[in-house]
């Protein structure tokens, strides 16, 4: 694995400076840290969303390598087509035999958990040699903060507003990482932009494995979350330290916790850093928060047991 210093001195990969991502947005760091670990040039693509808009407005592009975007729900299918063309042309000797490429599909939680879920499942099942990276900021941010199936319970979005009767999203987030592990692909991991060593180690491992890989990477969205852009990394770590977003990986079906949480913080510690949870800190929502805490605890214990860790 390349450390941050080596990464900084490596030939430029991922995104060039000058892209239009917001201050405090996590995805540019995710791209740098993940693409930087690839031993071969990366051909990538992303679904429609902030990443596409912030990096590609014609006639400019921030992508240093080959990149393709076409629609919202098909990042996995598109990259699987590119990877298949690569195999087809390589087999015929129409590409240099000594040059390898890695293929990475990117999508936000909307493009991955929801509308692109089928294409993702299909691409993973077909066994393409590709890595899918979901940058999960828990809502549709590009369209103006709407709820997705990744939005946490109680979270305020414009389509699950904290109202007088209903306090934000009523449903729990989908366990997409678990669902991807159930595909029995060789590598599945959950990371956070705030724990960069863990994230880069996972990317390094993913690129060392042949076949389909999936990484679900947590990143705050300062606009959608109503959080301080200077605290993006801190908040991304707090999600892990409250066990709302545990860090783990599943290698060939073996579950492993990659960050043990010794002193688990309460979810309200996380809530305090973001406006989207502000309403949950009011006394009338105490019972609701207790319910959410119980579900977070339950999921954490299920994960510990899968990872062979004592509770």
């Amino acid at each position: 694995m390349l450390n941050l210093k080596q990464l900084a001195s490596k030939e430029k990969v991922g995104l060039a400076g000058g892209h239009r991502a917001c201050a405090g947005c996590g995805f540019p760091q995710i791209i740098s840290m993940i693409f930087g670990q690839s031993p071969a040039p990366v051909v990538s693509g992303c679904s429609t969303g902030c990443m596409e808009i912030a990096t590609t407005i014609y006639p400019f592009t921030a992508w240093r390598g080959n990149f393709m975007h076409s629609a919202f729900e098909n990042s996995a299918a598109t990259i699987s087509g590119i990877e298949t063309a690569y195999r087809a042309l390589k087999k015929q000797g129409r590409l240099p035999a000594d040059e390898n490429l890695n293929f990475v599909a990117l999508g936000g939680d909307g493009g991955t958990y929801d509308i692109g879920f089928q294409a993702l499942s299909g691409a993973m099942e077909r066994g393409h040699n590709m890595l899918y990276v979901c940058y999960n900021n828990e809502a549709y941010m590009n369209t103006g903060v709407q709820r997705s199936s990744a939005t946490p319970q109680g979270g305020h979005t414009t389509t699950s507003p904290a109202g007088k009767v209903i306090p934000g999203k009523t449903q729990y987030p989908k366990d997409l990482t678990g669902i991807m592990a159930a595909h029995s692909i060789p590598y599945v991991a959950q990371g956070s932009v705030g724990y960069h060593i863990d994230l880069m180690r996972k990317a390094d491992k993913a690129f060392s494995i042949e076949g389909p890989k999936f990484m679900n990477v947590y990143t705050p969205c300062r606009l959608g979350w109503g959080s301080d852009p200077a605290k993006t990394m801190e908040i991304a770590r707090l999600a892990v330290d409250t066990c709302m977003w545990p860090l783990y990986e599943v290698v060939d079906g073996q579950w492993k916790l990659t960050r043990k949480v010794r002193e688990k913080k309460g979810i309200t510690e996380f809530y305090k850093t973001q406006n989207r949870f502000r309403h949950l800190l009011k006394p009338e929502n105490d019972e609701f928060v207790k319910e959410i805490q119980a579900e977070v605890d339950r999921r954490w214990h299920v994960l510990l047991s899968k990872c062979g860790e004592g509770a």
């Binding site: 992508w63 393709m68 098909n74 598109t78 087509g81 590119i82 690569y86 042309l89 089928q118 077909r126």
Partner: protein
């Protein structure tokens, strides 16, 4: 000359074997399923070099085809009806990105209610997506058109995706004698794919599909429209070259007994074959009937059609779909525009027929031509459109 009996689907699968594309991505749907089913056999028997992706939906099939083509691979797929409808979003993008993908399309009615049989509603629903659209009269033409579609789509002046339309079950499952050309001759005709860009050259990194706003989107769409205009010339050039190579020439349309015709039937697909018998019978009875079989629906050869029909006072248009525009169906609507631009005003009656696979007999086409000939000039919209063969 090798004459063999094949169904339309078998003929198209055979063309695909000879074309030997680098990548195919597809999803099964009746009545096109067989094309990929037969082709999968070719792949697994090692008869082609193709990487076959049997994906989880038509949307992903077209997405994967787009990725593969952008990576520099010659790419094909096959679909019908709901499958084409499910690809709809990606059809526009494939054309806008100038990706010369080829679909072997088998025409089937669109659902609502569900029906698996032939009409042209599926491709007509996607008629303005920017794809070149060639109709076939029989298995031979399905085979010939698919081979030519590769050359047309990949032509540097065109660079647009193309599909060949084939009437579901009538052609796709009907067995006919047809000529199959030698593999080497087909390979020589289609030539090597020379992609205009590739995503696999790290020395020349490329961004495909950048966000395109008020300042550039219009120019890019305009350029694609120009490719479609060029296609009209290219289709004819390639059709002639095909004739010189294989003995069957193709143009934008084909005519029968049109020179002195007093009534012309305009049809696409298998109905054109049925109409040949109807014209022959009417001629024997002294009725000056003629046929114009339209092969190329996109680009729409408006000027050429008007020129070919300029002397014909009575025109019966056979539309195997309904546009629900409360005026007339797609073919008649566009043909009438062509007449208007050419300063012509023949009597045009639009016959919407055969929806959901309802059969059309040559005797019915005879009746249609005679009725068109005898009908007074339509005074209102209602008398310009006839729903033929429906219980009302």
């Amino acid at each position: 000359m090798k004459i063999i009996a094949k169904t339309g689907n078998e003929a198209m699968a055979e063309a695909m074997r000879q074309i030997n594309p680098d990548v195919c991505a597809a999803y099964p749907i009746t009545p096109a399923t067989e094309v990929m089913q037969i082709f999968a056999g070719f792949v697994n028997d090692g008869l082609v070099k193709t990487e076959l992706m049997m994906v989880e939906s038509e949307h992903s099939a077209m997405s994967a085809c787009m990725g593969a083509t952008a990576a520099g691979a010659r790419t094909m797929t096959s679909t019908s009806s709901q499958g084409l409808a499910f690809m709809y979003e990606m059809l526009y993008i494939a054309a806008g990105y100038r990706l010369p993908i080829v679909i072997a399309e088998v025409n089937r009615a669109l659902s609502g209610p569900i029906n698996i049989h032939c009409d042209h509603g599926d491709t007509m629903g996607a008629r303005d997506t920017g794809w070149i659209q060639l109709f076939s009269e029989n298995a031979q033409e399905a085979y010939d058109n698919l081979i030519q579609a590769i050359r047309i789509a990949e032509h540097p002046d065109v660079q647009l995706p193309a599909w060949t339309s084939t009437d579901g079950f009538i052609i796709s499952h009907g067995m006919e004698n047809m000529e199959v050309y030698p593999d080497e001759a087909v390979q020589k005709f289609i030539k090597e794919f020379q992609p205009s860009f590739t995503l696999l050259n790290n020395q020349q990194p490329l961004t495909v599909g950048a966000a395109d706003l008020q300042d550039f989107y219009f120019e890019h769409r305009r350029a694609a429209a120009e490719g479609m205009r060029h296609a009209k010339r290219v289709i004819q050039e390639i059709g002639r070259e095909f004739g010189q190579t294989f003995g069957r020439s193709y143009g934008l349309f084909d005519t029968l007994e049109l020179d002195d015709a007093e009534v012309a039937l305009v049809a696409m697909g298998s109905t054109a074959g049925t109409a040949r018998m109807a014209v022959k019978n009417l001629r024997q009875r002294g009725v000056k009937a003629g046929l114009l079989k339209l092969r190329v629906f996109r680009p729409f050869p408006a000027e050429e059609l008007a020129q070919a029909l300029k002397h014909v006072p009575n025109v019966a248009v056979m539309d195997r779909s309904d546009g629900f525009n409360a005026q007339s169906a797609p073919l008649a609507t566009e043909l009438k525009t062509a007449f208007f631009d050419a300063g012509l005003k023949p009597k045009v009656i639009d016959y919407i027929y055969g929806l959901g696979g309802r059969d059309i007999h040559f005797t019915e086409l005879e009746q249609i031509m005679e009725k068109t000939l005898q009908a007074p000039e339509p005074g209102d919209l209602d008398s310009r459109v006839v729903y033929w063969g429906v219980r009302e």
